[in-house]
């Protein structure tokens, strides 16, 4: 809906009350200068719920028995899910060439295995990229590899499970990988079954401890360009969760503009040839 005479105004007070509820629900934080984004994306919800004002909407989010569904609707509307295969290649090189061999060399009761968590996986490109890199490395048997992807948005998880992607998702993908790990399908290319078999997806809110408890301990966590949407408190909670889920010696890979500065001192900085990553001591 366009702004102007068609739209219900949103006061700064209403914005902050609703913004705080969104933040408490999923950690995503909107600074004051992003009021217009929240306003425009949520304005259609008033008509859909037969509400007249954003104060009514705030009340709906506080008290309505069906409010959980509305929070999920909000997540669909306010989250940014832009991603693609083989994003930030230098970091993926570090994962394939340095992290995977190091993990493979660890003595493990029950033999070699690998568990990776793609935290905030959106439509799944990152999780499948990880699976492809593991296959390419040849260091692990597919059956020994478990890759988990989570997101809070149902819509993107549906896309991830389907595994069909349009051209935009392959902007950084080598033709060789495209031929080997994807097949043509209506609407684009579908991830081949052997890759999909390595990846599981679930609807988990990163700041919901009960949800995260459903994941096993993992060797590597990718959480790239997700925490940037959170406020400091939610970032700390998420990073605390990552720490609890990583095995000792496990790796945390953040986006290129992200760091743990002022968030956690529980990780050590690990200087790899291709990248700087964090490791749980």
């Amino acid at each position: 809906m366009l702004p102007g005479e068609l739209e219900v105004p949103m006061s700064m007070e209403e914005f902050r009350l609703i913004r705080d509820l969104i933040n408490a629900y999923c950690g995503i934080f909107f600074a004051d200068d992003l009021k217009f984004v929240v306003h425009r994306r949520l304005a259609p919800r008033l008509a859909a719920l037969c509400l007249e004002t954003f104060a009514d909407y705030h009340r709906h989010l506080r008290y309505d028995p069906g409010r959980r569904a509305e929070y999920e609707e909000i997540v669909e509307r306010v989250t940014t899910n832009e991603t693609y295969f083989f994003r930030e290649a230098y970091q993926l090189d570090a994962f394939r060439d340095e992290i995977l061999p190091e993990i493979a060399a660890r003595p493990r009761p029950g033999g070699r295995r690998l568990t990776v968590w793609s935290a905030g996986c959106a439509s799944g490109e990152e999780a499948y990229t990880v699976a492809i890199l593991v296959l390419e490395s040849g260091l692990f048997q597919p059956a020994q590899v478990h890759i988990f992807g989570n997101d809070i948005s149902r819509r993107v998880l549906q896309l991830a499970r389907k595994g069909i992607y349009g051209r935009a998702s392959f902007r950084q993908t080598d033709e060789r990988y495209l031929r080997r790990y994807f097949r043509e399908a209506p609407g684009g290319y579908q991830v081949r079954d052997e890759v999909r078999a390595m990846v599981s997806f679930g609807q988990i809110n990163l700041i919901d401890l009960d949800g995260v408890a459903l994941l096993p301990e993992v060797d590597v966590i990718f959480c790239r360009n997700v925490l940037i949407y959170f406020d400091a408190e939610s970032r700390k909670r998420a990073v605390g969760t990552f720490h609890s889920k990583l095995v000792h010696g496990g790796y945390l890979l953040l986006g290129h503009s992200e760091s743990l500065m002022n968030l956690s001192t529980a990780f050590e900085l690990c200087h790899l040839k291709n990248d700087l990553v964090y490791r749980k001591p």
Binding site: L2, E13, R41, A48, R62
Partner: protein, 684 residues
């Protein structure tokens, strides 16, 4: 940690050790410790430098810290320390100003860095010395002084800066021009015109034309929209918008005429600016294109609708085209993707009578059958708005299209129902004939109820009362909702009161809402019983919070004092939804006897209830009520403090005023500060 130990640690090769050592510097104010911190400001690691700056600026005697920092400005061998010292002096602020002004006069340390620091601090005492520095023999110093004066934001610097525009060197003139722009100072066009020919000054001079307020500059500004330099083009865009905002309506019309007649290259320059990384620039360029009203730019403006940061201004620009936009937009629509089609449909009603053109309405009618729900819903909304505002063209197409759309999925059907309702308010017979012919049964029945509710005709009550007895709960709820807009009569009240016994929660809540909206006083006892729930002896058994909340609110809207016992009983309910409504309604209807209940509301666990209690107490005249609201000014939640400040706006006593002032002294939240300031202003 002893100072020697700190000194040793600061020599370590390990960045972490040096960073940690700073935490060990004693904060007892010993001069040696300060020197160590200033020394550390030159560390090779930015983290260590940042930490050192933070500790120096927290030094207990700021003048002493400033003196140490000014000495560091003379450090030629360590640029990092000098830069850190400028940053730190800015953070020390006003206490550093006298020392910096002395240093500027004496000239032992770098005067340029002293000027930079004064610019960062922004204190008015520096205006005179900096203005004098504009005449210094050193060109770098002159430029630094001009830049600092721009940062100071003091208009008394304008004459000196304007005089500096006549300086011999480009550097000083550029810095002076940029400072004047920063200050928003008006420099006469005849002074700026020669500067436009200097490539180095052209961008800043164009920007300055925006503040000059002289329509004589328009040809230069329009020509610059086609400049080869992007910086110049963008400056012209900014300037034209600034000029438009500051001049009379006659002159702004002249600007629009110039833009309308602008050469194609100037419009190309504007369209290129729509792709700028700067949101402000994109918005300005879109506004200018709206004033230009040239059809060939509509496709570029359409694309801007995708961007949330510019969507509103792009829409305004297209609406500014008026009827000229109708045909080109109609031609564009089939080529656009569904999202963009939907956005175009949404803005069509704003074209006024031009939107009611038969071809455009036919296009919208066909679009209600679009495979994609977004454009279909948008087309329905557009038809509703056009039909309501100016009426639809003759012929069955649009209304029939909307009727068909009622059978589609959620958002399309909702939009079509709202549209038919809006059209029905103007062309009732046309809409009603279709509804009556279909009846309220079947899957589209609930939507047809909505249509009748929006039409607002009393003669449709009978049809809706029948629907209130239907086997479908969805239809019964829709009928109750619709009846709320059709005016009250005993038969409607009776039916809605009986609907409070419906087995469906949503029907009961809708009936309660409708009774409230109709102001049905006869329903007050029944609503009170529902609101009280099973805790009420002899009352209804309704324990569903949404139903009880709706009943409570209805009681408040009806305004019957008989509702007071129920409101009082629920004001302390543990459920925040119920308590907050009861407290709000007590604020409207209650008496002095209710004050204890309102005071208790301030201690509720739910902040919505606390806010409602504060607002209700704000309507009371007693000193105890005001004192309680004053106390709420210190609540940990910002929204409660804001509600308390708003509640005190009508109080005239000295104690409330003092409490508001005291809170303003310490309040950090901007919204709360605004509310306090407004409350104080309201009472003079």
């Amino acid at each position: 940690m002893e100072l020697d130990e700190v000194r040793r640690a600061l020599q370590s090769d390990d960045e972490e050790a040096r960073h940690a050592a700073l935490a060990g510097v004693p904060a007892d104010g010993a001069l040696e410790a300060l020197q160590l911190l200033v020394e550390a400001m030159g560390d090779e690691s930015w983290r260590v430098r940042k930490e050192a700056v933070s500790r120096v600026t927290a030094w207990p005697r700021p003048e002493e810290a400033a003196a140490g920092l000014i000495v560091a400005l003379g450090e030629d061998s360590n640029i990092a320390r000098r830069n850190a010292a400028v940053e730190a002096l800015g953070l020390v602020g006003r206490p550093a100003v006298p020392l910096l002004l002395d240093a500027l006069q004496v000239g032992v340390v770098s005067r340029k860095l002293v000027i930079d620091a004064l610019g960062v601090i922004g204190d008015a005492r520096a205006v005179g010395p900096l203005s004098a520095a504009l005449r210094d023999a050193d060109a770098n110093l002159r430029a630094a002084a001009a830049e600092a004066l721009g940062h100071l934001g003091r208009r008394e610097a304008v004459p000196a800066l304007q005089a500096a525009l006549a300086a011999g060197d480009l550097l000083t003139r550029l810095a002076a021009l940029e400072a004047l722009n920063r200050l928003g100072a008006s420099v006469p066009y005849h002074i700026l015109a020669p500067l436009l020919g200097e490539p180095v000054l052209r961008r800043a001079a164009l920007e300055a034309l925006g503040f000059a307020g002289d329509a004589g500059a328009l040809p230069d500004m329009i020509a610059a929209l086609a400049d080869r330099s992007r910086g110049a083009r963008e400056a012209a865009v900014t300037a034209l918008q600034a000029l438009h905002a500051m001049v009379s309506s006659e002159v702004s019309a002249l600007i629009e005429d110039h833009l309308h007649a602008a050469p194609a290259a100037a419009l190309d320059g504007l369209c290129a600016t729509l792709a700028s990384d700067s949101r402000a620039l994109r918005r300005s360029a879109a506004a200018l294109l709206g004033w230009a009203r040239r059809a060939e730019t509509l496709p570029a403006l359409c694309q801007l609708l995708r961007d949330e940061g510019t969507q509103d201004v792009a829409a305004d620009a297209m609406v500014a085209f008026g009827e000229r936009a109708a045909e080109p937009l109609q031609a564009l629509c089939p080529e656009l993707d569904p999202d963009l089609r939907a956005l175009i449909f949404e803005l069509l009603p704003r074209l006024g009578t031009a939107a009611a053109a038969p071809q455009l309405c036919e296009l919208l009618a066909r679009a209600t059958a679009d495979d994609e729900p977004e454009p279909a819903a948008a087309a329905a909304r557009a038809l509703g708005l056009i039909g309501q505002a100016v009426g639809l063209p003759r012929g069955p197409g649009p209304v029939a299209g909307l009727f068909q759309a009622l059978g589609r999925e959620g958002q399309v059907a909702s939009a079509a129902a709202a549209a038919l309702g809006a059209i029905g308010a103007r062309a009732y017979d046309e809409v009603h004939t279709l509804v009556a012919a279909h009846g309220l049964g079947g899957p589209i029945g609930p939507y047809l109820c909505r249509v009748l509710g929006a039409c607002g005709r009393a003669e449709d009550r009978r049809l809706l009362l029948g629907a209130l007895r239907d086997e479908s709960a969805v239809l019964r709820r829709a009928a109750a909702d619709a009846l709320s807009g059709l005016g009250g009569e005993p038969a409607v009240t009776e039916a809605l009161v009986f609907a409070l016994s419906d087995e469906s929660i949503s029907v009961r809540a809708a009936a309660a809402r409708a009774l409230g909206a109709l102001g049905a006083a006869a329903a007050a006892p029944a609503l009170a019983a529902v609101a009280l729930g099973s805790s009420h002896e002899g009352g209804d058994r309704d324990d569903e919070p949404p139903v009880r909340a709706a009943a409570l609110r209805a009681l408040g809207l009806i305004g019957d004092p008989a509702a007071l016992p129920a409101l009082r009983a629920l004001a302390t309910n543990a459920d925040g939804a119920l308590a907050s409504i009861a407290l709000e309604m007590l604020g409207r209807l209650g008496t002095a006897d209710d004050e204890p209940v309102l005071h208790a509301g301030l201690r509720h666990d739910d902040t919505e209830a606390v806010k409602a209690a504060a607002r209700a107490l704000g309507t009371r005249a007693s000193a105890t009520a005001r004192a309680a609201v004053c106390e709420a000014l210190g609540h940990p939640r910002w929204d409660v403090r804001r509600a308390a400040a708003e509640a005190l706006a009508s109080s005239t006593d000295a104690a409330s005023r003092a409490a508001l002032r005291a809170r303003l002294e310490v309040e950090a939240d901007e919204l709360v500060r605004q509310a306090i300031t407004q409350a104080l202003a309201q009472r003079g």
